[in-house]
């Protein structure tokens, strides 16, 4: 019955999206449908209804993003003029393989978060807050999709703020379980706002220097004024501002607390999407607005991005080893993984950027699967501390197995998605022949993966080689939590074998970034 209805719904959505009347409007519908879902959640004012609305919205978004990705990889970029006003005057949305991949990540994780959230959110959030929680989740979803879809520099800022503001609220909802979520959200609020302010100052300076906000137009008008101090200052402000959102190594202080104390579903969603979108914005500004030759003359890649990426890979992984809270450990591991993505950027080659984008996708599914599996343990045990999850390998065999399988992908064992991204990254490093330095970098990538083995092993040891705590009744986590986790774990392995989606799209996107195929 339910399956029949679901397949009917899926068919209906697929047919509607494919139809001639709707298809040209998909770039804006991708953003506008979640936007309309948020107020609907509030107006219905019923938490079951809100969950249903969120689920239907995310499913439609997923269908749209799959359709868009399919379209742009075959036919090339789509441009959409909001309100019929032609760019550069009006706001333009452009979907190309680069952002279509990010849109797919966001909407895919969105669907799974909402599915996972039915039980997890019901347990962690007070019933009276759940409706507004889903409304905030939808706003955050809208914001991230909007940041990704738009081709207007100021519009990026607006959507970035929509997603950030709702994220602060979502993180603060963890206060129901741990009061410290409030300070975590406050820290994030302060850091995020500083980041957003820097970002908007940067855009303001760009506007001052060029008189336009449309990305393509900006890119053209910047070329003759590369030496302009205003443009240089704008570049610095934008990189630092968005760097705060990316959690580039020295700007990462908000991240561990925000991920640790947020409700599980929020952690899953944020870990898999928010920093990824920020990296996307950074790439788009660096390589499409400022153009690669500007970036190379500013020497930011080799003197800022590269060293900090390597420090992040080691320092964050090293800190992760000593965490007593598994959730915090995974948060530090995220900072390290961001290091890998930035390392790919700093290679400044097609292969390097491909590695970044593949890792963007692969790390999103891997980390989401890990946080989901951990969340299932938290659901049963009530805590993510290492000593509380000991012996769960016997009591919760499925959950523990899923955690271990997902962590294989985090470490980068062959046949998992994580392996593919690290392989391409190492390939990119070795491709830059002629200097021992790049061989050293390749070695460092492998060495830092070993650190991941150490911190993951600590969890595995606790799960399987310690006696479960007596006097506590522990059962396997419910299927409602395990199935979404299972789906992501399958994805972790699927994308370890079939890389046609990730690798080809990422390669196409890398070409766009380096100005090859536009």
């Amino acid at each position: 019955m339910l399956i029949a209805e679901t397949s009917f719904f899926a068919n209906f959505v697929a047919e509607t999206i494919g139809s001639n009347a709707v298809a040209p409007h998909l770039p804006v519908l991708q953003v506008a449908i979640p936007l309309i879902a948020a107020p609907l959640c509030v107006l219905f004012g019923n938490r079951t209804m809100a969950w249903m609305i969120a689920l239907v919205t995310t499913l439609i978004s997923l269908a749209i993003s799959i359709n868009l990705l399919d379209h742009v990889t075959t036919f090339g970029a789509i441009s959409y003029h909001i309100g019929g006003w032609a760019p550069p005057l009006g706001i333009e949305y452009i979907i190309d393989p680069l952002n279509a991949l990010v849109l797919l990540i966001i909407s895919m994780i969105g669907v799974l978060t909402v599915l996972y959230g039915r039980l997890s959110i019901a347990q962690e959030i007070l019933p009276r807050d759940q409706t507004l929680f889903y409304a905030c989740l939808m706003l955050c979803f809208t914001g991230l999709l909007g940041v990704t879809a738009t081709a207007d520099a100021f519009n990026v800022f607006v959507f970035l703020e929509i997603s950030s503001l709702s994220t602060y609220v979502l993180v603060a909802q963890g206060a129901n379980r741990q009061r410290r979520a409030l300070t975590a959200a406050y820290d994030y609020l302060i850091m995020g706002t500083i980041g957003a302010t820097f970002f908007v100052i940067g855009i303001g300076l760009l506007y001052m220097a060029t008189g336009t906000l449309n990305m393509a137009d900006l890119a053209e008008r910047i070329v003759p004024i590369y030496d302009n101090k205003t443009v240089l200052a704008a570049f610095a402000f934008i990189i630092v501002g968005i760097g705060l959102k990316v959690a580039i190594y020295p700007l990462h202080f908000w991240l561990p607390n925000a991920y640790t104390f947020a409700p599980t579903a929020v952690t899953v969603f944020l870990a898999a999407t928010a920093t990824k979108v920020a990296i996307y914005v950074m790439l788009r500004f660096m390589f499409i607005i400022f153009r690669p030759d500007f970036v190379t003359t500013s020497h930011i890649l080799e003197f800022i991005i590269l060293p900090f990426a390597i420090i992040a890979m080691f320092a964050a992984s090293f800190v992760a080893i000593f965490q007593a809270d598994v959730k915090r450990m995974l948060a530090y591991s995220s900072i390290g993984q961001i290091g890998y993505m930035l390392l790919g950027v700093s290679f400044y080659s097609e292969k390097g950027l491909t590695a970044t984008l593949i890792h963007l996708f692969n790390h999103a599914i891997t980390k989401a699967a890990l946080f989901m599996a951990l969340g299932a343990m938290v659901y049963v045990v009530g805590s993510s501390m290492l000593n509380r999850i000991q012996g769960l390998g016997k009591k919760m065999p499925l959950t523990s197995l899923l955690f271990v399988l997902a962590s294989l992908s985090l470490i980068g064992i062959p046949s998992t998605a994580g392996f593919i991204s690290k392989w391409v990254l190492i390939e990119a490093a070795l491709e830059k022949q002629g200097h021992w330095f790049w061989v050293l970098i390749a070695f460092l990538i492998v060495a830092s993966s070993l650190l991941a083995v150490i911190y993951i092993w600590r969890v595995v040891e606790m799960l399987y080689f310690k006696e479960p705590m007596q006097n506590v009744e522990i059962k396997e986590a419910p299927m409602g939590l395990l199935l979404p986790t299972f789906a992501l774990v399958i994805a972790c392995f699927y994308f370890g074998f079939d890389t046609s989606l990730t690798y080809d799209t990422a390669e196409m996107a890398a070409k766009i970034l380096l100005g090859g195929a536009q």
């Binding site: 506008a32 107006l43 004012g45 909001i82 309100g83 009061r179 409030l182």
Partner: protein
Amino acid sequence: MMRHHVILRVITKVLIGPIILFAFYVQFHGDYSPGGGFQAGVIFAVAFILHGLVFGLSTVQKVMPPKWVHKLIALGLLIYAGTGFAGLFMGGQFLEYNVLAHDPIHGQHNGILIIELGVGMTVAAVMIAIYYAFAARPPRISDEEW
């Protein structure tokens, strides 16, 4: 009901009408003159906040229950996004006003008026919600809870 501050109470009652009227003026004159949803929304909310300051939170919440405030925030956004969708359904782009009436100029007028109505509603409700949130702040968190 407290009987002091007679002047404040009387002046407030006298002022609330003109404040709301002025809010509507700014709202509906927004397409010709400076003004529009943001300014009108704030002015509109001022009437309620003033009422709350003078007569107390519970009194103003009888006029504008917190639950309604939430719905109004959502409704405003829905009107805005809904106008965008109306443009789509009438055969234009998202948020294209030209198609909202028989000729484009009227369409632009209609579009901006409806959008500003949505903006005004949301801004007013958000201002009131912020006032409610601060005025009805729960007691501070005790040290043990951190």
